[in-house]
């Protein structure tokens, strides 16, 4: 690492300017009024309205996590224990939520569960899922149960069969066996994936905003309304401080649980799943697997199909009218730009985010896994914290930080990209870390001993080996940038409208058809991301 410390400058400066500085300005805004004050915090905490929202945010996150576990654990079991025809396909299906923008899924839910929705008509009753906590929980489960399947099944495959056999020979069976022997060994996986789910739901924005209606707001939505509608930065900041504090506490437990998880995953024992052929699929066990697969398939696919179908129906008949409308206008008054501009912006932001966040994550991951130096613990924490910040909080921080010189960046397109970068970077970091961890450090040393300088050893040996993870990380970054709504909405000007903002605007104007048509375009872009990840992406599984 001689002299190579220079590469640390980029992540340090970037994170300082575009994460820590905004964070400081929020704290300043919320705790400062000609001197330190707790006035706004107390104002928020003593209002039953805000308290209700804080409580609901935690409750819905708990509920979502529970639903996610209920949906994910059977999948984890099936994936760990069985090999069956169609498993690969099911795996691929489970990757879909990783890349599907939440605004599109929210629209799908509206089309499914609304009063005229497909699902409502199918069962002939309105279950009042929409604009309710039920829709929020379902949508959150949609996004998170694949994580549970992945993380828990990985541990389940490693549970040493001898433990179970030993316990059985001692007389434990059935549920007792599971509770006393198997479950404790799965706990690190269940805990880590639950924490991740919980944080996601605690900070999620588009889903409660669109599916929660007026009654069911979360802290994230509350901050958004305080700032964008009421223009009350003080209260918004106080809320943000509460949110950050809570989410950092959750983050702490998440990171602890990840350590446990990593240790449990190191176990060498790896049982190959039992193979089920077509005939065995017709046994009770097989039918249960088919049933679960079907539920998963329908659950993931139906919001997408609903959107696709809706975009193709105009006044009761099949037609491309919505697409024609969406594309024909050179200027759409609903979002103040043309659709082509919105697509261009989304792609521009997406690709720039790829470059920035991948570079950032690559350097940070490399330092995390390859370097030892004093204060590395602090470095580890500082680079992980962006995971615990939400889009809206970041947007608020940017508004407070970059509205005046010397950093008057508000209204520029690259400030939006910087926000996307901060939001996407923790996920890119995770993808790259996963592969870098697997590359043994002595490969680099072998290269050094053969005469390669540090950078050459990196370029010729480590980079090619990490490429899969880097590409997957880059695609994540792209998918997240394309899907981002909250921060973008707070920072954009009409000429920087993105596809998601246009969809949001259409939703606000209750133009479902136009929203669907645009969503399909978003879906196509996401599908490309999906295919690339599927091709290279054993890393995320």
């Amino acid at each position: 690492m001689r002299g190579a410390k220079i590469i640390l400058i980029f992540p340090l400066i970037f994170l300082t300017l575009f994460f820590y500085l905004p964070l400081v300005s929020i704290i300043h805004e919320g705790l400062w009024d000609n001197g330190f004050t707790l006035k706004y915090l107390i104002e928020v905490l003593s209002s039953s309205y805000h308290r209700g929202i804080i409580l609901f945010t935690i409750k819905q996150a708990l509920g979502s996590t529970l639903l996610t576990l209920i949906l994910g654990l059977p999948g984890a079991y099936i994936f760990a224990k069985y090999e069956f025809p169609g498993k690969r396909f099911l795996k691929a299906i489970l990757t879909v939520p990783f890349v599907m923008p939440s605004i599109m899924v929210a629209l799908g839910f509206i089309l499914l569960f609304g009063k005229q929705g497909f699902f409502t008509q199918l069962i002939g009753r309105d279950l009042e899922i929409l604009y309710n906590w039920k829709a929020i929980l379902l949508a959150h489960a949609f996004y998170n149960f694949p994580v549970v399947v992945r993380m828990v099944s990985s541990l389940w495959q490693r549970v040493n069969p001898h433990y179970e056999e030993m316990a059985m020979s001692l007389g434990a069976r059935g549920f007792t066996l599971f509770r006393k022997v198997t479950l404790p060994m799965l706990m690190p996986g269940i805990f880590a994936s639950s924490m991740l789910t919980f944080i996601f739901c605690f900070l999620s924005f588009s889903i409660p905003l669109i599916l929660g209606g007026y009654k069911y707001a979360t802290i994230e939505v509350d901050i958004f309304t305080s700032i964008m509608t009421l223009l009350n930065f003080k209260v918004g900041s106080a809320l943000a401080i509460i949110q950050i504090t809570l989410s950092f506490i959750f983050m702490y437990f998440y990171i602890k649980s990840l350590d446990l998880y990593a240790k449990a995953e190191e176990q060498r024992i790896f049982r190959t799943p039992k193979k089920l052929d077509f005939k065995e699929l017709l046994s009770l066990r097989g039918l249960l697997i088919i049933f679960y697969s079907l539920i998963v398939f329908i659950f993931i696919i139906s919001p997408l199909l609903a959107v696709l179908y809706d975009s193709l129906i105009y006044q009761g008949t099949f037609s491309l009218e919505w697409y024609r409308r969406v594309f024909s206008k050179r200027y759409n008054p609903i979002f103040g730009a043309s659709t082509m501009i919105a697509i261009r912006n989304s792609l521009l932001f997406g690709f720039t985010t790829i470059i920035l966040s991948t570079l950032l994550a690559l350097i940070v991951a490399y330092v995390l896994h390859r370097w030892q130096f004093k204060g590395k613990n602090i470095f580890d924490t500082l680079v992980m914290l962006p995971l615990g910040s939400s889009a809206i909080t970041l947007g608020l921080g940017y508004i407070r930080t970059f509205h005046k010189p010397p950093l008057e960046l508000l209204g520029t397109w690259y400030l939006i990209v910087f926000a996307h970068t901060i939001i996407a970077y923790p996920f890119v970091l995770r993808a790259i870390s996963a592969v870098l961890k697997k590359i043994r450090p002595n490969l680099k040393e072998a290269a050094l001993s053969l005469g390669a300088k540090e950078w050459k050893a990196f370029l010729r040996v480590e980079l090619p080996l990490a490429l899969g993870g880097i590409i997957v990380g880059a695609i994540f970054a792209f998918a997240m940038s394309i899907a981002e709504l909250g921060a973008t909405y707070m920072l954009y000007q009409p000429e920087y409208t993105t596809i998601t903002i246009a969809i949001y605007r259409f939703l606000g104007a209750r133009q479902w058809g136009s929203a669907s048509a645009l969503s399909v375009i978003l879906m196509v872009i996401s599908a490309i991301s999906f295919i690339i990840i599927e091709r290279i992406g054993e890393e995320i599984w």
């Binding site: 001689r2 043994r440 002595n442 490969l443 040393e445 072998a446 290269a447 050094l448 001993s449 053969l450 005469g451 390669a452 300088k453 050459k456 050893a457 010729r460 040996v461 090619p464 080996l465």
Partner: protein, 339 residues
């Protein structure tokens, strides 16, 4: 060829401390670092290679201090325990990597890779990937990759420990052959004493964090300086004695020793040095074990246990008619007084 010296090396990593006051590897010599797991063999090698910087002391190649020279300029060939072959490169690419770094022309690279592959007996494997090779073949590729750059020093860190016994024996012969052929200074790490004895010009026996003794295999085997070395190589006997004028007393009996020391001491001898005779010290037989053609006797001399090993046909009595007490003798030249 290079002469390697370590001087006053101190390397601290957490609560592990490595201290080497002096270690010299002569030009063209095959030196083995032998020691138990975790004693610092790999760390020593990594310090010589330049992957670790000593906190104190000098690493010297041919009288030149190389502490500040990065690994890629030291011209040292290394074979790691797990080979560290680049998984995304073919055998050819792996071996040519170091040559490319040195800017050789395409033709030269081809010629040299061919030479290296012939040297390790792997011609024809150029286009395979490491995962398509057996453990032994991977090991040879790693060796070829380290040798092709014509290093002045070859470092081998337990290169055979991942292979099964048969291949291990064959490959260690080949490593020795190649080392002789190329006359390359070599430092070899192992914790297998048999391997060390078989292959080395000299052995440095290490205990936790330090070098106990350096010497030729037989010298270490028969003349260990410390109890640690004595116990580490083969079976050993150590007796607590009282020396008075070249006589080492155990209770009332004594063994003749060649020493100028007086007073309490520990003496050492090998099981095969224990002779069974008519005269000598009485020893109680507390057990025996038959080995192919040999017998290992467990004896007791006034409360201290020793082992004797003899060929069966040397026994002055039948195994079935083993007496309870026998008389033993050890020649003074076979006894070492330990520090």
């Amino acid at each position: 060829m290079v002469k390697v010296e370590l001087r006053n090396i101190l390397w601290i990593q957490g609560d592990f401390k490595l201290e080497i006051n002096r270690l010299e590897v002569k030009e063209g010599e095959f030196l083995t670092l032998l020691g138990p797991s975790g004693c610092g063999k790999t760390s020593t090698l990594r310090i010589i290679a330049g992957f670790e910087k000593p906190d104190k002391g000098e690493v010297i190649f041919n009288d030149k201090v190389v502490n500040e020279i990065p690994p890629y300029e030291r011209n040292v060939g290394i074979v790691f325990q797990d080979y560290a072959l680049f998984p995304h490169m073919t055998v050819f690419k792996n071996i040519s990597f170091g040559l490319e770094m040195r800017g050789f022309s395409k033709e030269e690279i081809k010629r040299k890779v061919k030479w290296a592959l012939e040297l390790v007996g792997l011609s024809g494997f150029e286009n395979r990937y490491p995962e398509q090779l057996s453990g032994g073949q991977q090991q040879r590729v790693a060796l070829a990759r380290a040798l092709v750059i014509e290093p002045e020093l070859l470092l081998l860190d337990e290169p055979l420990s991942n292979l099964d016994a048969k291949i291990r024996e064959r490959l260690r012969g080949e490593i020795k052959r190649i080392q002789r052929e190329l006359k390359i200074t070599t430092i070899y790490v192992t914790h297998d004493q048999e391997e060390a004895m078989a292959i080395s010009d000299r052995i440095a026996v290490m205990s936790i964090g330090r070098i106990e003794q350096v010497g030729e295999p037989l010298e270490l085997y028969y003349k260990p300086k410390t109890e640690f070395v004595a116990k580490f190589l083969g079976l050993s006997n150590i007796l607590e004695v009282e020396i008075k004028g070249k006589k080492a007393f155990v209770d009332d009996y004594f063994l003749k020793v060649e020493t100028t020391r007086e007073g309490k001491a520990k003496i050492f001898f090998r099981p095969e040095s224990v002779l069974i005779s008519k005269e000598g010290i009485p020893a109680k037989v507390i057990g025996y074990e038959l080995l192919p053609g040999r017998i290992r006797l467990k004896l007791e001399i006034s409360g201290q246990e020793i082992i004797a090993e003899r060929f069966l046909n040397e026994l002055p009595f039948e195994v079935h008619a083993m007496p309870d007490v026998i008389k033993i003798e050890i020649l003074p030249k076979d006894i070492t007084v330990l520090k």
